[in-house]
């Protein structure tokens, strides 16, 4: 009887903490052993790179993928756009080579390359999100491919809007930003896909050419849009992720095309801007600005190309694409916006995504 009680208690604690990921004191996160940084490379140059920085030594291996997999002589491929760690594996979305490359998260060893294609033609995958043993991949041909993580193959293809970009999972639903960026008039919608039926259940209107999404702990989904580069500026729209309705647009002080949320603080930035605000932080509960410029010590970042967070200590890792042809670098800031350290990801060009290995 006692044995069962202890077992149930432990089970309760584990389940309880799994449901409340954002509630840090109840869910101790191990410090990162190191960080992975994914770099896009140049268009049609087949030079995407995966770098790894060891947290203890600070040593950076710029071409970690080739170092760990010397038989993969050609490298990752063309324009690796996004990646995530799910379970024991890393899933890298390679946009122009049109595949998802799967590596062992602990060692970086190559496991498999999953083509994201339709009838032999690449779908051109973009971003990934994970849930329920599946990794969901948006692709420019207007689809979301569900990769089954046990068989490492595409189990289902879900049609959404045109040229989808960012994707996130909330409340057993997928929220997908339909950019429509390849059309003369871009799209301005977000598709909501119910993961029980794997079909689209709602399409909401947001800003023009939506790109990225982020959600806070109460279900507010923030969607950032590019605009049309001439008359319509970038914008931020907030969606109620619980009942699939549009709540509000944040107005002209929030002209940003990318957003990340950590601890319910939104980090807004423009991914191609070389001047102006680098990152603006905003409290998603009170609706007020935390800092109009996140960086407080005057550190320069030429182009904010990616923002990621170390859930262990709240550090903010900002990827700097520089002039888009020289190798890029990553700077780690404390949550107060003070630079802690920075490192080059050479030979990686256009670093975009940072992941933490624990």
């Amino acid at each position: 009887m006692n044995k069962h009680f202890y077992f149930l208690a432990i089970l309760a604690i584990v389940l309880f903490s799994a449901c409340k990921k954002s509630d840090a004191p109840y869910d101790p996160i191990k410090p990162a052993k190191g960080v992975y940084v994914l770099s896009e490379g140049n268009f049609n140059a087949n030079n995407s790179k995966l770098a790894y920085r060891d947290a203890a030594t600070g040593v950076v291996s710029g071409d970690f993928f080739t170092q760990q997999n010397p038989s993969q002589t050609a490298g990752l491929g063309d324009v690796a756009n996004d990646m995530l760690i799910y379970g024991s594996k890393i899933y890298i979305v390679v946009n122009v080579s049109s595949n998802v490359t799967v590596l062992d998260a602990q060692t970086g060893t190559f496991i498999s390359r999953i083509p994201i294609q339709s009838l032999g033609t690449g779908r051109q995958p973009r971003y990934a999100a994970s849930a329920n043993g599946k990794v969901y991949i948006t692709a420019y041909d207007g689809t979301v491919s569900a990769i089954d993580t046990t068989s490492l193959s595409v189990s289902q293809v879900i049609p959404v809007g045109p040229n989808p970009e960012g994707i996130l999972v909330y409340n057993n639903k997928l929220f997908v930003a339909n950019s429509g960026g390849f059309n003369a008039v871009p799209d301005s919608t977000v598709s909501v896909v119910d993961l029980n039926s794997n079909t689209e259940v709602a399409r909401l209107v947001v800003g023009v050419n939506p790109q990225q999404l982020a959600v806070n702990s109460t279900g507010d989904v923030y969607v950032t849009s590019f605009g049309n580069f001439t008359s319509i500026p970038p914008s931020v729209t907030v969606i109620n992720g619980n009942n699939n309705t549009v709540k509000q647009q944040l107005g002209p002080n929030y002209q940003f095309d990318h957003v990340r949320i950590y601890n319910d603080i939104a980090y807004f930035y423009n991914s191609y801007a070389t001047t102006g605000t680098r990152v603006k932080t905003y409290d998603t509960h009170t609706g007020s600005v935390v800092r109009s410029e996140f960086i407080t010590d005057g550190t320069t970042v030429s182009v904010v190309y990616g923002v990621d967070f170390d859930a262990d200590n709240g550090d903010v890792y900002i990827c700097d694409a520089g002039n888009f042809s020289d190798p890029g670098k990553v700077t780690c800031f404390s949550s107060e916006g003070i630079k802690k350290f920075s490192f080059s990801v050479a030979p990686g060009i256009n670093p975009k995504k940072t992941l933490f290995l624990r």
Binding site: Q124, G142, D326
Partner: protein
Amino acid sequence: MHHRAIFLFHILFVLPATGLRAQRADTLSGVTLLSVRPAQPLRSSNISITLSRKSLAGLNSSTVAEAARFLPGIQVKDYGGIGGLKTVSLRSLGANYTTVLYNGMIVSDAQGGQIDLGRFNLINTNAIEYTINSPAVTLAPARAFANAAIINIIPDYEVPNGGVGLKAGIHTGSFGLINPFANLQLGVSSKTSLHLSGDWEEANGKYRYRDYENGGKYKVRTGAAISEFRAEASLYHKISDSSFLLWQNVAYHSNRGLPGAVILYASPAGDRLKSTSIFSQVQWKTPLSKKLTALLSAKYSKEDKDYSDPDYPNSARKLENFFRQQSLNGSAAFEWKISHRWGIHYAADFIWDALKRIDSFAVNYPNPQRKSLIQNAGVNWAVKNMRLQADLLHNLINETVKTGVDRNNESRLSPSASINVKPGLIPLYLRASFKYIYRFPTFDELYFTNIGNTALRPEIARLYNVGMLGENSFRAGRVKASWSVDGYYQFVTNKILAIPRQNLFQWSMMNVGKAAITGMDAGVFVSVLKRKVILNTGINYSFQQALDLSDPSSVSYRKQLPYAAIHAGTLRAVAEWGRLRTGYNLLFTGERYRAGGELPGDRLSAFTTHDVNVAYQVKMKKSMAMEFKAEANNIFNRQYEIIRYYPMPGFNFRLSLTVTYKNNKSRK
């Protein structure tokens, strides 16, 4: 990023011969309408090389682009395969600094400034005249004086005395090539002749290349099939010994697949390009007095370029870029031979260029029109041991657009001068030259959707060259050698580069580049006559340090420019014995880098290719002859690239059969 891919495509879209002994053996039978200069005139104050028809035949080349590889200082950017685009650049300046002339008249491309020399085949080419800074003959349109490198394609207008000349044949070979051709020269009267030529080429474009993903295996390059058609109809009327009237009409059409760069782990692209161009040009050369000659010319040309991407992920599942260019120009050039020492030349060209985008995906394309007035005035001075030439070129440009704001008028003055001195009694000559060039932005750089920048200014290039050349003969004239060495320095500022612009997703063109290019081109050409064998050999070597000075904070600062090799060289050898002719060609390109910064991952290894050819002539009747020719290229099957991820073919071959019929009594 996707508009950039199409724009990058648009950017892409532009021994010393045989020695004097062989030049005599090379005399063309019948009458040549357009005189061919000696292979390397010693008194030329600028580099000047002519490749005659015989030399061209020995180069294992089927188009002017391939033959251009053997011109000193020239680099050909080849995107692979028989249909791959080929553009030509002098000393790392870029394809925009090369002017292409067809029999003395400009072949223009205001849209991209890059002529694809693969569209001019060698079947109907009598010679290629290559000069730097100034055209070989100063009686020329003003625009011929405007650029750094001038390649003049001289068509084959040989006319038997008042008779008929017919040449017909077929090429076949690797890549599934079938290329029948015919060329008819008709002496309509004793002074007038008609020239008709045509050829049609089909190739599946397939070839094996080493798989980038799996080095031990091979893949086949697909999606590169090409279908081409060329035709020319021209009329020549000789008014007197010093004047003529020439009317040329040329048509070209091609439909080709453009597989693009090899993308790892992905299927090949199905992009296609259809080009159709026609031009009609008239030249009238006439003496106005005993000392004054005029060359009046006019030209109209129209070119359609229809590019399509069938995998473009828009709602139509296709992207099309259909551009139509038209150009009209008139030129009046005068040469005044004041005395046997002095001469003055002046030319004025008026040019109208218009570009329209006519596909259904175009949104607000400004349809620019440009009117240019270009004038060149120059002076020649020659005494026994010295030749001097000085020119002043003026460019006046006015541009208007259908939507948007018109650019301001541009006016620029560019000087140039050159000198050739023979300091002693031996055949050794020294030469020096300088030239300032304003390279005006092309329509693509100014207006291309989301990337063009209408505030662009012209690039400025300052070119300096010093050289030495000479010739010697041995063994009672049976061995002739001519040689040249030229050192140069080129400084380019306001270079137009594609860079990311503030708050814009796509890249933009800006005048932020700067480059300093220093180098040397050296060549030796030997011609030997022994018993009945004529042997001609030419070797070129070039050394180049092309440094990027654009951005001191970048890794590319003071490093070699992309694709600029430090060492490069060519070797050509042709041996003739009676009816048999064999040749061997070698091309060497040293290490270079795909991108700036000389980073190890960007390095492209050095490569050497070897080609051989053999031709045999059979005399059938008094007036008919037949020639069989076999060419084997890259005989050691070297796997190489000129541009990263655009693999070049390994071993490939071409066979030709040509029949000529001449109704005249000349020798040969």
